[in-house]
């Protein structure tokens, strides 16, 4: 029994059966289990009904079909179930292609993933030209592959070299791009797509419809797999892809395999090939991790699930930014771009103006690419008011200080701002190191005070760590979250503690790399281990970027703050030695762990091995990869235990957006679940014995492992697979 209807069938006097996707009770069409079931049945009826001469796929929503239901994908656990359900869809699509009745898709709006795969199985695609519409197969961005024939039909339609980038990068094309790339047969003014498709269908009446790839003598446009051109594509693509994934992401490799294996055989056999790769990918831990963090968790975070309830949404009209340096200017730019009036204050008009100039450069770069009009550039810039006068802050909803990391300076600007703004104005510090509760002490309204930790460069970094001080009220937190969303960024909620969340966990990655160096691991091996772990940059390279003297200053400060509680590590000694003994402070000085010659790329300092002598026996890279990932997860788990962070979603989204943690592993918390908490704890215990107490897992995690071990029973209830 169907509780919802997605596929609405009507037949016109012209014999055209319309299958209109219009999911009851939802604003967008999503292919879930029930909808796919309805689709099978509707196609079968249209084919069987002698009164039906042609079939039109259309949508009753603003968009065509947004894609497949990820919850459904995530629920599958049994390979045979998933294979059978997917093959069932393939059979329906093949029936459409081969029954002889023409099928056309009137694509009125966005058609992505499975939604576009239905269109690909039609004999004709007409796209209505709406600027917001996007067309594509973005499955790979969530660790999946187009499992509804997309890896087969797209390259058969537009050729392998043209199809691979679309499949491997999951690009979403605008209507013009989709037309140019050959993804649709016609681009018509919005609203005319159905009429155009109907005209095409009526013109097909004479001969049975078929797909090019089912006709005799069909050749893949631009060359078959085993043509010289085709071979060259795969010869290069295999290595280029591995250079990019470092083996961490199975989906793109399997997409390549679908195309390579599938395009050497007929379409029916190709279906089986694609489905087997789809099943492998859909059930992979990487896909589960990516769907969990990038889709579900990202959705939660952006919906502000952790926003205190019962507080009305605040609209931000005017926001002050104190300090027009790189961070302040970046924040001002983000605000102005989002339509917020921004007061950008610094000690001189020259400095404040420079901050606004930075925004101008960014905007003009976008204008040069044709993404902004001159008018829009000026309108945005007009929203940034450079000033030296605190009185200009009057009427602000929020003032963010981004001045130097000096408590006295911060206290002073806070007091000056508070003297001007209203009682309901939020006050935020963009500090990355100083405790918020402590800074709030300078405020007359500590309840209104919190941390908004932006990342550099602000225009590119999506994350904002919202730091809740001891006095910060729920209203302040709720409104701060409203602000972050208002400027289009993604907030995670972090309770005030040293290093907050992102800096604290990320630094363990760097410090573990430094510890390895102290142990005598070869520097290149450390760096490669970091990259093979999936991190964007090796730990030594990132230390150079941060600059070693800054790390040393933080170490010294932390040691001072913690006193006897401070545990000195080998990593501290490496940094101290680089800074004080060897005088190499990192990239900004042109020498750190790396040399930065004028010509050619950077390379590891050749003398590093004299000062950190490599051990005669080197560890395997897998062990180093494990350490570099486990150490981050241990620290994230500690943050949980200490209440610094309160949700896995915040922890993992923060890691992906904050420091480029590899999505394949889900995030530092998702990683623990992915490899299994029991195994994780056991491996950390072993690492703690070998490497030191920094691997000691928090009690709560150990308890979870024990509880899970007890609860684990062999093969829990098998989930139902296909809808039928």
């Amino acid at each position: 029994m169907m509780t919802r209807r997605m596929v609405h069938e009507t037949t016109g006097s012209d014999g055209i059966r319309t299958l209109r996707f219009d999911l009851d009770g939802r604003s967008t069409n999503v292919l879930d289990r029930a909808a796919i079931g309805e689709f099978h049945a509707a196609v079968a009826r249209a084919i069987a009904d002698p009164a039906v001469t042609a079939v039109l796929l259309a949508s009753g929503k603003e968009d065509f079909i947004a894609g497949a239901d990820l919850e459904m994908v995530r629920e599958f656990a049994d390979p045979a179930d998933l294979r059978d359900a997917t093959l069932r869809l393939h059979r329906t699509l093949r029936d459409m292609e081969t029954c002889g009745k023409p099928f056309a898709a009137a694509i009125n709006g966005t058609a992505l993933g499975g939604g576009f795969e239905l269109c690909l199985a039609c004999h004709h695609r007409v796209l209505g030209d709406r600027p917001r519409t996007r067309i594509g197969l973005p499955e790979v961005t969530l660790g999946l592959l187009p499992g509804g024939g997309g890896t087969q039909r797209l390259p058969r339609m537009i050729g392998i070299p043209a199809a691979l980038p679309l499949l491997l990068e999951g690009r979403r094309l605008t209507p013009q791009q989709a037309m140019q790339a050959g993804l649709v047969d016609a681009l018509v003014p919005a609203g005319e797509e159905e009429e155009s498709a109907r005209r095409w269908l009526l013109a097909q009446a004479a001969q049975p419809a078929s797909q090019p790839w089912d006709r005799k003598g069909y050749r893949v446009p631009g060359g078959d797999v085993q043509s010289p051109a085709g071979r060259q594509v795969f010869f290069a693509a295999n290595a280029m892809l591995r250079a990019k994934t470092l083996g961490n992401y199975p989906a793109p490799h399997r997409i390549l395999s679908c195309v390579y294996e599938g395009l050497q055989v007929d379409m029916d056999t190709a279906s089986k090939i694609e489905v087997s790769h789809f099943v492998a990918v859909a059930l992979s831990p990487q896909a589960k991790n990516m769907i969990r963090t990038l889709f579900f968790h990202m959705g939660e975070v952006n919906r502000l699930v952790r926003r205190p309830s019962g507080v009305s949404t605040r609209r931000f009209g005017k926001v002050g930014v104190l300090g027009a340096g790189m961070m302040g200017a970046g924040i001002a730019h983000a605000q102005a771009t989002a339509g917020l009036d921004t007061v950008l204050l610094d000690t001189s008009m020259e400095l404040a103006g420079k901050g606004r100039d930075r925004s101008r450069r960014l905007l003009e770069a976008r204008q040069a690419k044709g993404r902004l009009t001159a008018q829009a550039v000026e309108a945005t810039l007009a929203r940034i008011h450079p000033t030296t006068d605190f009185a200009d802050l009057a009427g602000c909803d929020l003032v963010i200080e981004a001045v130097v990391e000096d408590r006295a300076v911060k206290a002073e600007v806070t007091r000056k701002a508070e003297a001007v703004v209203g009682a309901d104005c939020l006050l935020a510090s963009n500090t990355s190191t100083l405790p918020i509760t402590n800074l709030a002490g300078a405020s007359a309204r500590p309840g209104n005070f919190l941390g908004l930790h932006f990342f550099s460069p602000v225009e590119r970094m999506q994350l904002v760590e919202v730091i809740v001080g001891r006095e910060t009220t729920d209203t302040t937190l709720a409104h701060a979250l409203d602000y972050v969303r208002a400027i289009g960024k993604t907030p995670i909620v972090v309770n005030d503690a040293r290093g907050f969340y992102t800096s604290r966990v990320f630094s363990t990655y760097v410090r573990e790399g430094l510890a390895m160096l102290a142990e005598g691991v070869r520097p290149a091996l450390i760096e490669n281990a970091g990259r093979q772990a999936g991190m964007p940059v090796g730990p030594l390279a990132i230390a150079d970027e941060l600059s070693l003297d800054l790390i040393e200053r933080i170490n010294v400060q932390t040691r001072r703050d913690l006193g006897a509680a401070y545990v000195a590590t080998a990593a501290d000694e490496v940094i101290a030695s680089m800074v004080h003994r060897l005088g190499r402070i990192g990239r900004k000085a042109g020498q750190g762990f790396y040399d930065y010659p004028q010509e050619g790329g950077k390379h590891l300092w050749p003398q590093l091995g004299e000062h950190f002598v490599p051990a005669p026996v080197q560890p395997g890279v897998d062990m180093l990869v494990r350490r570099l990932l486990h150490i981050q997860s241990v620290e994230a788990a500690r943050c949980f235990e200490e209440g610094v962070i309160t949700s896995a979603a915040d922890a993992d989204v923060g890691a992906l957006l904050g420091w480029g943690y590899p999505a394949a592993h889900g995030g530092p918390i998702g990683y623990i679940d992915s490899i299994g908490v029991g195994r994780f704890v056991a491996e950390c215990d072993e690492l703690a014995r070998r490497c030191g107490p920094r691997y000691a897992v928090p009690t709560s995690l150990r308890e979870r492992a024990a509880a899970q071990g007890a609860a684990d029973s062999p093969a829990g209830a098998r989930r139902a697979g296909a809808a039928h």
Binding site: N238, L241, H253, A524, L525, N528, H603, Q618
Partner: protein
Amino acid sequence: MSTASGAYVYDAVRTPRGRGRRDGALHAVTPVDLAATALRAIRDRQGFDTAAVDDVVLGCVEAVGEQGMNIARIAALVAGYDLAAPGMQVNRFCSSGLDACNIAAAQLMAGQSELVVAGGVESMSRVPMASSGGAWSLDPQVAFSTCFVPQGISADGIATLHGYARGDLDAYAVESQRRAQRAWDEGCFARSVVPVTDTNDLPVLGRDETIRADTTLESLAALRPSFAEQGATLGFDSVLIQRYPELERVDHVHHAGNSSGIADGAAAVLFGSREAGVRHGLRPRARIVSFASVGTEPTIMLTGPAPAAEKALRRAGMASADIDLFEVNEAFAAVVLHFMNVLGVAHDRVNVNGGAIAMGHPLGATGAMLLGTVLDELERRDLATGLVTLCVGAGMGTATIIERI
């Protein structure tokens, strides 16, 4: 070990090696004709009855197109061998010619053949490398799971891992050219090389075409690395580093001047039992002492010669000191340097008449050519034992030890 049924080498011939490109002298000669040239030459020189030939085993790597469909059998027919002489083509990439010899020897040692012609052929100008495609480099799952990189990247990887600088490799290459030129001047190849002629018996090529005796360190220094771009832009350096994460980068030190030349050529070696030799009035020149093949790590790919040689030595109860002369195929200079390092053999016993860097490497034929080369030189110097080995694609090596009679 093989006293019961021995495998004896009665003769060895080869064509000169032509530049394996459009402007090469042998480009106009079909691979079947190249192979038939060698098969005819060895028959005509030794005068055996080809009806008694139990097998014709030819190495050929790119066994497609005009090298396809078992070129050994077809070439034997074209060469006018008796219809009773069967043929088979074998492929172990670069050692195919030597493996063809080893298969011939194995048939004899097993007592299941009496007289076998082995050898190999490759017209790289007419059937270019990689013509046969294959899963290794193209099939995404295979390339991924085996960390495929092209062999030039592997050779540069060996050099990087073992610290062979460009200068070391170039010095080796200059010496290879010098030795090859000297060997030709002194007639060291005269016994083996048979000229290639056209359909009117007019000469096409009588001498290895690619030797550049004027090669100097300076002239080599001007050459650009051959694999740097492939390594960087196609991602192969990264793949190699993922397999060898102790490397920060791959030093691209090989180039056209210190790598083997692309070449066309064919070779044939006559094998027989002692009894067959007597029956056909043949005089044995050497016996096969032992042979071996090994598999090694496929990404670095080209480190097989040392373990293959060691395996063959072990099988023979010999040590490297017992070998008078080595032929180690000069696929890339680093391969030979690596072999000499691992086995502790000095250059004065290795490739004494130069090698593929100077004379080229017609893939399927080279192994058989080297067997003839070392035999000729053992006779010339009146030495006893020789070892031939080649590095092989996908991480393999093959070695054969011979002893003069």
